[in-house]
Symmetry: C2
Subunit: 113 residues, 2 copies
DNA sequence: TGTCATAGTATCAAAAAGGAAACCATAAGG
DNA sequence: CCTTATGGTTTCCTTTTTGATACTATGACA
Protein backbone atom coordinates (compact mmCIF):
# COMPACT_ATOMS: atom_id res chain seq x y z
CA UNK A 1 0.00 0.00 0.00
CA UNK A 2 1.99 2.90 1.24
CA UNK A 3 5.18 1.17 0.16
CA UNK A 4 4.21 2.07 -3.38
CA UNK A 5 4.75 5.64 -2.44
CA UNK A 6 8.06 6.85 -3.81
CA UNK A 7 7.65 10.45 -2.92
CA UNK A 8 10.15 9.86 -0.18
CA UNK A 9 12.70 8.59 -2.64
CA UNK A 10 12.58 11.92 -4.37
CA UNK A 11 12.64 13.69 -1.05
CA UNK A 12 15.73 11.82 0.03
CA UNK A 13 17.69 13.29 -2.82
CA UNK A 14 16.54 16.79 -2.10
CA UNK A 15 16.51 16.86 1.64
CA UNK A 16 19.48 17.80 3.67
CA UNK A 17 19.09 21.48 4.37
CA UNK A 18 21.80 22.32 1.87
CA UNK A 19 21.08 20.24 -1.20
CA UNK A 20 18.58 22.56 -2.82
CA UNK A 21 20.90 25.51 -2.57
CA UNK A 22 23.86 23.48 -3.78
CA UNK A 23 21.91 22.30 -6.78
CA UNK A 24 20.70 25.80 -7.39
CA UNK A 25 24.23 27.11 -7.64
CA UNK A 26 25.51 24.28 -9.77
CA UNK A 27 22.56 24.63 -12.08
CA UNK A 28 23.06 28.37 -12.38
CA UNK A 29 26.78 28.25 -12.87
CA UNK A 30 27.36 25.04 -14.74
CA UNK A 31 30.64 24.13 -13.16
CA UNK A 32 31.82 25.03 -9.70
CA UNK A 33 34.85 24.22 -7.65
CA UNK A 34 34.55 23.18 -4.05
CA UNK A 35 35.87 26.52 -2.87
CA UNK A 36 33.50 28.42 -5.11
CA UNK A 37 30.60 26.60 -3.58
CA UNK A 38 31.93 27.49 -0.18
CA UNK A 39 32.01 31.12 -1.14
CA UNK A 40 28.55 31.03 -2.60
CA UNK A 41 27.15 29.36 0.50
CA UNK A 42 29.05 31.05 3.30
CA UNK A 43 27.27 29.34 6.18
CA UNK A 44 27.93 25.81 5.11
CA UNK A 45 30.78 23.95 6.74
CA UNK A 46 33.27 21.92 4.74
CA UNK A 47 31.96 18.82 6.35
CA UNK A 48 28.41 19.49 5.31
CA UNK A 49 29.38 20.57 1.85
CA UNK A 50 31.45 17.45 1.37
CA UNK A 51 28.80 15.10 2.63
CA UNK A 52 26.02 16.65 0.60
CA UNK A 53 28.09 16.63 -2.55
CA UNK A 54 28.98 13.00 -2.00
CA UNK A 55 25.38 12.03 -1.62
CA UNK A 56 24.42 13.85 -4.77
CA UNK A 57 27.29 12.17 -6.53
CA UNK A 58 26.21 8.77 -5.29
CA UNK A 59 22.80 9.38 -6.77
CA UNK A 60 24.35 10.36 -10.07
CA UNK A 61 22.98 13.87 -9.87
CA UNK A 62 26.33 15.59 -10.00
CA UNK A 63 29.77 14.86 -11.40
CA UNK A 64 32.96 15.18 -9.47
CA UNK A 65 35.99 15.83 -11.58
CA UNK A 66 39.35 15.75 -9.88
CA UNK A 67 42.37 17.42 -11.39
CA UNK A 68 45.62 15.78 -10.38
CA UNK A 69 47.39 18.94 -9.37
CA UNK A 70 48.44 20.76 -6.28
CA UNK A 71 46.83 22.60 -4.70
CA UNK A 72 43.91 20.33 -5.49
CA UNK A 73 41.19 21.25 -7.90
CA UNK A 74 37.84 19.55 -7.96
CA UNK A 75 34.95 20.60 -10.12
CA UNK A 76 31.31 19.81 -9.65
CA UNK A 77 28.67 19.87 -12.32
CA UNK A 78 25.31 18.31 -13.08
CA UNK A 79 25.27 14.95 -14.79
CA UNK A 80 23.04 14.55 -17.79
CA UNK A 81 20.83 12.39 -15.66
CA UNK A 82 20.85 14.98 -12.92
CA UNK A 83 19.55 17.61 -15.28
CA UNK A 84 16.39 15.56 -15.45
CA UNK A 85 15.67 16.80 -11.98
CA UNK A 86 15.22 20.34 -13.19
CA UNK A 87 11.53 20.14 -14.05
CA UNK A 88 10.79 18.68 -10.66
CA UNK A 89 12.81 21.35 -8.92
CA UNK A 90 11.01 23.99 -10.89
CA UNK A 91 7.64 22.58 -9.98
CA UNK A 92 8.62 22.55 -6.37
CA UNK A 93 9.92 26.06 -6.58
CA UNK A 94 6.74 27.29 -8.18
CA UNK A 95 4.56 25.54 -5.73
CA UNK A 96 6.64 26.94 -2.89
CA UNK A 97 6.30 30.43 -4.25
CA UNK A 98 2.55 30.14 -4.55
CA UNK A 99 2.33 28.59 -1.14
CA UNK A 100 4.06 31.51 0.53
CA UNK A 101 1.44 33.75 -0.96
CA UNK A 102 -1.27 31.45 0.18
CA UNK A 103 0.01 31.54 3.73
CA UNK A 104 0.05 35.30 3.57
CA UNK A 105 -3.55 35.33 2.51
CA UNK A 106 -4.48 33.12 5.41
CA UNK A 107 -2.32 34.45 8.17
CA UNK A 108 -1.33 37.87 6.91
CA UNK A 109 2.06 39.18 6.00
CA UNK A 110 3.69 38.97 9.41
CA UNK A 111 5.83 35.88 9.53
CA UNK A 112 4.55 32.99 7.54
CA UNK A 113 6.34 30.50 9.79
CA UNK B 1 20.36 34.84 -5.33
CA UNK B 2 19.69 31.62 -3.56
CA UNK B 3 17.00 33.25 -1.46
CA UNK B 4 14.81 33.17 -4.54
CA UNK B 5 14.84 29.43 -4.26
CA UNK B 6 11.58 28.22 -2.83
CA UNK B 7 12.20 24.57 -3.32
CA UNK B 8 12.74 24.38 0.39
CA UNK B 9 9.35 25.85 1.06
CA UNK B 10 7.81 22.95 -0.76
CA UNK B 11 10.13 20.56 0.99
CA UNK B 12 9.12 21.89 4.38
CA UNK B 13 5.58 20.84 3.81
CA UNK B 14 6.52 17.39 2.64
CA UNK B 15 9.39 16.57 4.89
CA UNK B 16 8.93 14.97 8.23
CA UNK B 17 9.38 11.28 7.64
CA UNK B 18 5.68 10.71 8.01
CA UNK B 19 4.00 13.42 6.00
CA UNK B 20 4.15 11.72 2.63
CA UNK B 21 2.59 8.57 3.95
CA UNK B 22 -0.04 10.50 5.88
CA UNK B 23 -0.97 12.43 2.77
CA UNK B 24 -0.97 9.26 0.78
CA UNK B 25 -3.54 7.69 3.03
CA UNK B 26 -5.72 10.74 3.27
CA UNK B 27 -5.63 11.16 -0.47
CA UNK B 28 -6.52 7.51 -1.02
CA UNK B 29 -9.27 7.36 1.54
CA UNK B 30 -10.78 10.79 1.46
CA UNK B 31 -11.60 11.08 5.12
CA UNK B 32 -9.80 9.40 7.96
CA UNK B 33 -10.10 9.49 11.70
CA UNK B 34 -7.09 9.81 13.91
CA UNK B 35 -7.33 6.20 14.96
CA UNK B 36 -7.69 5.02 11.40
CA UNK B 37 -4.48 6.77 10.49
CA UNK B 38 -2.82 5.08 13.41
CA UNK B 39 -3.96 1.74 12.17
CA UNK B 40 -2.83 2.44 8.63
CA UNK B 41 0.57 3.60 9.82
CA UNK B 42 1.33 1.22 12.65
CA UNK B 43 4.83 2.49 13.40
CA UNK B 44 3.90 6.06 13.97
CA UNK B 45 3.49 7.27 17.52
CA UNK B 46 0.55 9.39 18.58
CA UNK B 47 2.87 12.25 19.22
CA UNK B 48 4.32 12.16 15.73
CA UNK B 49 0.96 11.69 14.12
CA UNK B 50 -0.46 14.62 16.03
CA UNK B 51 2.43 16.93 15.27
CA UNK B 52 2.54 16.09 11.59
CA UNK B 53 -1.19 16.52 11.22
CA UNK B 54 -1.02 19.87 12.97
CA UNK B 55 1.67 21.10 10.65
CA UNK B 56 -0.28 20.03 7.62
CA UNK B 57 -3.32 21.74 9.05
CA UNK B 58 -1.37 24.92 9.67
CA UNK B 59 -0.37 24.94 6.03
CA UNK B 60 -3.96 24.49 4.98
CA UNK B 61 -3.24 21.15 3.38
CA UNK B 62 -5.64 19.19 5.50
CA UNK B 63 -8.84 19.84 7.40
CA UNK B 64 -9.44 18.84 10.95
CA UNK B 65 -13.05 18.33 11.83
CA UNK B 66 -13.90 17.77 15.45
CA UNK B 67 -17.14 16.16 16.48
CA UNK B 68 -18.32 17.25 19.91
CA UNK B 69 -18.99 13.80 21.23
CA UNK B 70 -17.51 11.31 23.56
CA UNK B 71 -15.43 9.37 22.96
CA UNK B 72 -13.93 12.02 20.71
CA UNK B 73 -14.09 11.83 16.97
CA UNK B 74 -11.83 13.81 14.72
CA UNK B 75 -11.72 13.51 10.99
CA UNK B 76 -8.96 14.52 8.67
CA UNK B 77 -9.31 15.25 5.00
CA UNK B 78 -7.59 17.24 2.27
CA UNK B 79 -8.56 20.85 1.86
CA UNK B 80 -9.39 22.04 -1.61
CA UNK B 81 -6.15 23.94 -1.54
CA UNK B 82 -4.29 20.87 -0.37
CA UNK B 83 -5.53 18.90 -3.33
CA UNK B 84 -3.44 21.25 -5.42
CA UNK B 85 -0.44 19.40 -4.09
CA UNK B 86 -1.41 16.24 -5.89
CA UNK B 87 0.32 16.94 -9.19
CA UNK B 88 3.52 17.76 -7.38
CA UNK B 89 3.29 14.63 -5.27
CA UNK B 90 2.70 12.61 -8.39
CA UNK B 91 5.69 14.12 -10.12
CA UNK B 92 7.81 13.33 -7.14
CA UNK B 93 6.48 9.83 -6.96
CA UNK B 94 7.19 9.23 -10.63
CA UNK B 95 10.64 10.67 -10.43
CA UNK B 96 11.33 8.55 -7.36
CA UNK B 97 10.17 5.44 -9.13
CA UNK B 98 12.38 6.12 -12.13
CA UNK B 99 15.26 6.97 -9.87
CA UNK B 100 15.14 3.65 -8.09
CA UNK B 101 15.48 1.98 -11.47
CA UNK B 102 18.32 4.26 -12.36
CA UNK B 103 20.18 3.35 -9.19
CA UNK B 104 19.67 -0.29 -10.01
CA UNK B 105 21.19 0.22 -13.41
CA UNK B 106 24.20 1.90 -11.88
CA UNK B 107 24.79 -0.15 -8.80
CA UNK B 108 22.88 -3.33 -9.51
CA UNK B 109 19.88 -4.74 -7.76
CA UNK B 110 21.43 -5.38 -4.37
CA UNK B 111 20.41 -2.61 -2.08
CA UNK B 112 20.07 0.76 -3.69
CA UNK B 113 20.87 2.59 -0.48
C1' DT C 1 -17.98 0.80 40.53
C1' DG C 2 -14.97 -0.65 37.03
C1' DT C 3 -13.68 -0.92 32.19
C1' DC C 4 -13.38 0.57 27.40
C1' DA C 5 -12.76 3.81 23.66
C1' DT C 6 -10.89 8.14 21.47
C1' DA C 7 -7.82 11.74 20.71
C1' DG C 8 -4.81 13.61 22.47
C1' DT C 9 -0.58 15.75 26.21
C1' DA C 10 3.41 15.54 28.92
C1' DT C 11 7.81 13.98 30.19
C1' DC C 12 11.95 11.93 29.59
C1' DA C 13 15.34 9.39 26.78
C1' DA C 14 17.66 8.07 22.52
C1' DA C 15 19.14 8.82 18.06
C1' DA C 16 20.21 11.56 14.19
C1' DA C 17 21.68 15.73 12.13
C1' DG C 18 24.49 19.60 12.08
C1' DG C 19 28.32 22.63 13.48
C1' DA C 20 33.16 24.19 15.23
C1' DA C 21 37.57 23.64 15.10
C1' DA C 22 41.78 21.33 14.37
C1' DC C 23 44.50 18.53 11.32
C1' DC C 24 46.56 16.74 6.69
C1' DA C 25 49.16 16.48 2.18
C1' DT C 26 51.69 18.88 -1.15
C1' DA C 27 53.71 22.28 -4.31
C1' DA C 28 54.76 27.02 -5.30
C1' DG C 29 56.56 31.31 -3.97
C1' DG C 30 59.14 34.42 -0.99
C1' DC D 1 62.28 27.37 6.14
C1' DC D 2 57.84 29.51 6.34
C1' DT D 3 53.53 30.71 4.44
C1' DT D 4 49.67 30.13 1.38
C1' DA D 5 46.22 27.58 -1.17
C1' DT D 6 42.89 23.63 -1.94
C1' DG D 7 39.94 20.02 -0.80
C1' DG D 8 39.20 17.52 2.15
C1' DT D 9 38.96 14.27 7.03
C1' DT D 10 38.48 13.67 12.00
C1' DT D 11 36.95 14.46 16.50
C1' DC D 12 34.04 16.29 19.69
C1' DC D 13 30.00 18.86 20.96
C1' DT D 14 25.29 20.94 20.51
C1' DT D 15 20.84 21.02 18.63
C1' DT D 16 16.98 18.99 16.59
C1' DT D 17 14.10 15.03 15.77
C1' DT D 18 12.04 11.16 16.96
C1' DG D 19 10.48 7.61 20.12
C1' DA D 20 8.59 5.21 24.48
C1' DT D 21 5.77 5.53 27.95
C1' DA D 22 2.53 7.15 31.07
C1' DC D 23 -1.29 10.02 31.84
C1' DT D 24 -5.84 12.67 30.97
C1' DA D 25 -10.97 13.69 30.14
C1' DT D 26 -15.47 11.93 29.49
C1' DG D 27 -19.52 9.21 28.52
C1' DA D 28 -21.36 4.59 27.58
C1' DC D 29 -21.94 0.15 29.07
C1' DA D 30 -21.88 -4.05 32.13
Amino acid sequence: MSNDCKVETALDILVGKWKPVILYHILSNGILRFSELQRLIPDITKKMLTSQLRELEYHDIINRKIYAQIPPKVEYSMTEYGKGLMPLLESMHNWGLAHIEHLNEIYGEEEAK
